[in-house]
Amino acid sequence: MAVDSLRAGSPLAGARRRLSSEFWRRPWLKAGLLLAPPLAAFVFVYLAALVSLFVSSFWSVDAFTGKLIHHWTLGNFHDLLYSNGTYLRIAGRTIEIAAAVTITDAVLAFPLAYFMARLAGRRARALLFVLVLLPLWSSYLVRIYAWQTILAHDGALNWGLNRIGLPDANLAYTNWAMWIVFSYVWLPFMIIPVFAAVERIPDSFIEASGDLGARGWRTFRSVVLPLALPGVVAGSIFTPLLVGGKSSSFIGNVVEDFIGINGNVPFSAAFATVPVIVMAIYLLIARKLGAFEAL
């Protein structure tokens, strides 16, 4: 009571107090007011945009005027599947390189993640974290550009090769370059989940394996690897599907070409659904393998 009468002095404080108790009595009101702006922004802009993209993949473009024809058709998907296999080959190539990158990253990441989780001291681990995460945050474009300079004819790679007496490697603008660059770009996404998974293996499991007479390799194969596998799968979720290349075609740059040069949004939209579908299937499999618990 005493507090109440003290507060009643200022009208502003009184109003604030009434508002607070109103919110306290009706929590749904507060929840609604908090949620409405972000939700509205997402539904009316982002979701609306996604839906319009999806819908437009069933439309077509007039070949002469370049105008959108709002007429329902499966033509875009038909073109994707049956135009002498070009687009299927591109999709296949994209998936192939994504798989190659995933495997490479798993191989590169696992020993590092294992070292970080089980061997490194506190300080070394913190340092490694920063060393892995900062490249991840630095600009995607700049990192790709960096590789372009390294792989160029007068770049650091050829210089290094020549120094040890090897001939030039002309990797620039080849599929090998794509493989290296994308493995590089996505590597931190693999390291972090694998680290999380390895860190969660109890020491006692490994000791028990040793007590039962298993040597290092056997312990690794029968104890560490099965327990860390969900982490590897989790890491592979983030490896690329939409990769864009320079010389050879991947889904990403074909999609961009169709928008940029031809203004053909419907066809691009249809093509872009391919990786989304592949990704959805992949995520379902990953969930079965327990990848989400490993994150």
Partner: protein
Amino acid sequence: MERSTTRAALLGWTVLVVLFLWTPLVIIAVYAFNSSNIQVWPIPGWTLHWFRVAWHDPDVRSSLWLSVKVGALATGISLALGTMAAFAIHRFRFFGRESISFLLLLPIALPGIITGMALNSFYVFAGISFSIWTIVIGHATFCIVVVYNNILARLRRTQTSLVEASMDLGADGWQTFRFVVWPVLSTALVAGGLLAFALSFDEVIVTTFTAGAQTTLPIFILDNLRQGQQLPIVNVVAFAVILLTIVPVAISQRLTRDTGVLRRGAATVTSAESVEITTV
């Protein structure tokens, strides 16, 4: 447990992978000081000349200014919306709660090109002409998640008994927020804001679809790379972009050491995409 040879091999591998991660960044930094205007490795000499040239270049200036404006606006919007969403999701249990957090994570779970195309076709259909706001909206959609995850992680680590105690002592909602919640939250907000800014500042994929004819700093780099022009200036700009994104991220990492937004903490607190937060 592991034999010493195994340990040494693991250490060696770790060092190699870290070198692999850092060499390209170091090389770009070195090229920024290249005295020749031809890209040859190793560089023939060192100079600060290109920094001066880049600083006085009108295109660099205008695109830097646009990037800073977009970054600031997108950060502001995502701080407001992300914090609101985090509070609502943390405090209340309601139908559709899971799907809302999934919805917020969608822009970074889907490849950037999809978000970009979707927004692009949305603007075209809705008859919205490209402006700074079309870029800001594009960036805000994926920046919100960073703030949201940061704040949510912090809220989950804050005991609700603090808030209850404050109310028991007679504080109203505003006072509780100002004197109890805010001090706990402020560093998480700063960290989330810095990460959002870093994300927005170097974003290129969504920007190409939402910028129209406008040029942000990453678009400036992309355009010049495509035409193979002004590479010395591009090197300097690329170096600046690396610094301008790494510094805020490093600061925010320090600010959130307890919640470890960049650490495993985030990965275990939220679901799948929180790892992605350490992203893009």
